[in-house]
């Protein structure tokens, strides 16, 4: 499987946040925390499950900071990708 690039992952996250929660993409910067846009931990869990479906990946490692940013989400996906390709 080709490795996903950060921009693509960001786009998928932003698209889903817009569709599901009405959060516009211009409100989400790399360092925007999920709490700042109104998401709680269960919503974040849905985001991760949706990312698995949309990106066709399996996230085995779900460790993230308590209040993750978009950058943390992208890093998580990339970390899982690296683990799978090693």
């Amino acid at each position: 499987m080709n490795k996903l690039d950060a921009v693509h992952i960001q786009t998928v996250v932003k698209d889903f946040l817009g569709e599901r929660f009405d959060i516009s993409a211009d409100k989400i910067a790399d360092d925007t925390s999920i709490r700042d846009v109104g998401l709680d931990s269960m919503m974040m869990l849905e985001v991760m499950l949706e990312l698995e479906d949309r990106l066709g990946i399996k996230l085995k490692d779900l460790a993230m900071p308590a209040n993750p940013t978009l950058r943390d989400v992208v890093a998580l996906v990339e970390r899982n990708q690296s683990a799978q390709t090693q």
Partner: protein, 420 residues
């Protein structure tokens, strides 16, 4: 007589019902005896059913960040509770700390969410639900959301005793205030279960009314010789209750007093009522209010229009009362299950507040087995009522009677209290 520490008064009403989306609309419908019952259908059911549907999608009232947790039942409960609080001049209860409570009744809770998940499991073979599903369908979801939104920090209780759920919730809230445990409480109930699986459950019981051939709005006929069963409905109704002293301190006027509560059980059968338990609940409420039966000026009966239930209730009412005017307003708003007691108590409140005897619609030929002093077909305006009683009887055998009493200088529907 039961010694009372505090009088309990009703300072706010919130109504989301098939016959009105606020207390003013409810009053208008009661005055006009306007039916909220119509034909309802599902592509999954072979025939149409009469149902008391609220023809509105309330999800537009909430953001997409809120909606994942909110079944329709929670949505209408939140809206009705907000109305009741605002009607009493309140938005937030944090200043009352643990002296503010919330008492709620429902039969099904988030039924739509739960049944949709079951469909996904069996049909789509999904192995896991969405993260929020369990919290959206649990029975206490609605009161939890209301307590979070309004910062109600004392007891947040959920009652489930079938058709008496919101009645016992209101009764217990009133007792907690009367006995000094609380100063103020929101109390009521909600039900939003008009979906094919739930309607088919009731169809299986053979308890549902046949649709009237000429006018679906006439399908629910309590006490009538031609009655054929109950009509399911949906809605949410909340009361703002507080001690008289508390209401006076914050300058809140009241609709009436909540003066009596009786609760008693049949101890008889899971699905068949017994007059003895009903009589006990009625007499307990009279004792609680310290009133002789002849002091009651109006009874809003439970009467669902089932062939078996109505005569038993009529027997109970004849045993306790001599000639009190009786009606069942389910003829126009259907059976709201967990919200039934609350809506019918709201009707009794408007009866004493507005000097109005609500009628039983479609009561052209009274079943002799249901002989009572019926307010048939036409509401009576200008009829002063000092005390009114609302009665409910639930599957499982729980019976609840609540009494409300007229107050001088009472607030009128639609006039919101000044914010404290």
């Amino acid at each position: 007589m039961i010694r009372k520490k505090h009088d309990v008064v009703v300072t706010g009403l919130g109504v989301i019902s098939p016959i009105g989306l606020n207390v003013g609309e409810l009053l208008t419908s009661l005055r006009q005896n306007r039916s909220g019952i119509r034909l309802w259908e599902s592509s999954l059911l072979d025939k149409q059913f009469p149902a008391a549907v609220i023809d509105r999608d309330f999800s537009a009232e909430f953001s997409k960040l809120e909606l994942p947790y909110l079944d329709r039942c929670s949505q209408i409960a939140i809206l009705a509770a907000r109305q009741a609080a605002a009607d009493g001049g309140l938005q937030q209860f944090a200043e009352f700390g643990p002296r503010a409570g919330l008492f709620y009744g429902s039969v099904g809770g988030g039924v739509t969410t739960e049944h949709e998940w079951v469909r996904q499991f069996y049909v789509e073979r999904k192995q896991q639900s969405k993260p929020y599903t369990i919290m959206a369908c649990m029975l206490n979801a609605a009161p939890a959301h209301i307590s979070i939104r309004h910062q109600i920090l004392g007891p947040v209780m959920t009652h489930s005793s079938a058709c008496t759920s919101s009645g016992s919730a209101i009764g217990d809230a009133g007792r907690a205030i009367r006995d000094g445990y609380l100063d103020i409480a929101l109390a009521g109930g909600a039900e939003a279960a008009l979906l094919p699986t739930f309607v088919a459950l009731w169809g299986g019981l053979r308890a549902l009314a046949e649709a009237d051939r000429d006018d679906a709005g006439r399908s629910c006929r309590p006490f009538a010789k031609s009655r054929s069963g109950l009509v399911l409905g949906e809605g949410a109704v909340f009361l703002l209750l507080e001690s008289r002293e508390h209401a006076q301190r914050r300058g809140a006027a009241c609709y009436c007093a909540l003066s009596g509560y009786g609760i008693a059980s049949d101890g008889y059968h899971i699905g068949s009522p017994k007059a003895d338990g009903q009589i006990s609940a009625l007499r307990e409420a009279l004792r609680d209010a310290d009133l002789a039966p002849e002091r009651i000026g109006y009874v809003n009966a439970h009467a669902t229009a089932t062939p078996g239930g109505d005569p038993i209730e009529a027997t109970a009412l004849r045993t306790v009362f001599n000639d009190v005017p009786v009606s069942s307003t389910k003829a126009i708003h259907g059976h709201l299950l967990g919200a039934a007691s609350a809506l019918e108590l709201a009707t009794a409140i408007l009866a004493v507040n507005q000097s109005l005897l609500p009628a039983t619609a479609h009561l052209d030929e009274i079943d002799p087995a249901c002989a009572l002093n019926h307010v048939a077909n036409t509401p009576v305006a200008g009829h002063r009522i000092e005390h009114a009683l609302s009665f409910s009887a639930g599957f499982g055998g729980t019976n609840v009677a609540l009494i409300v009493s007229r107050e001088d200088s009472a607030k009128l529907p639609g006039v919101t209290c000044q914010k404290s």
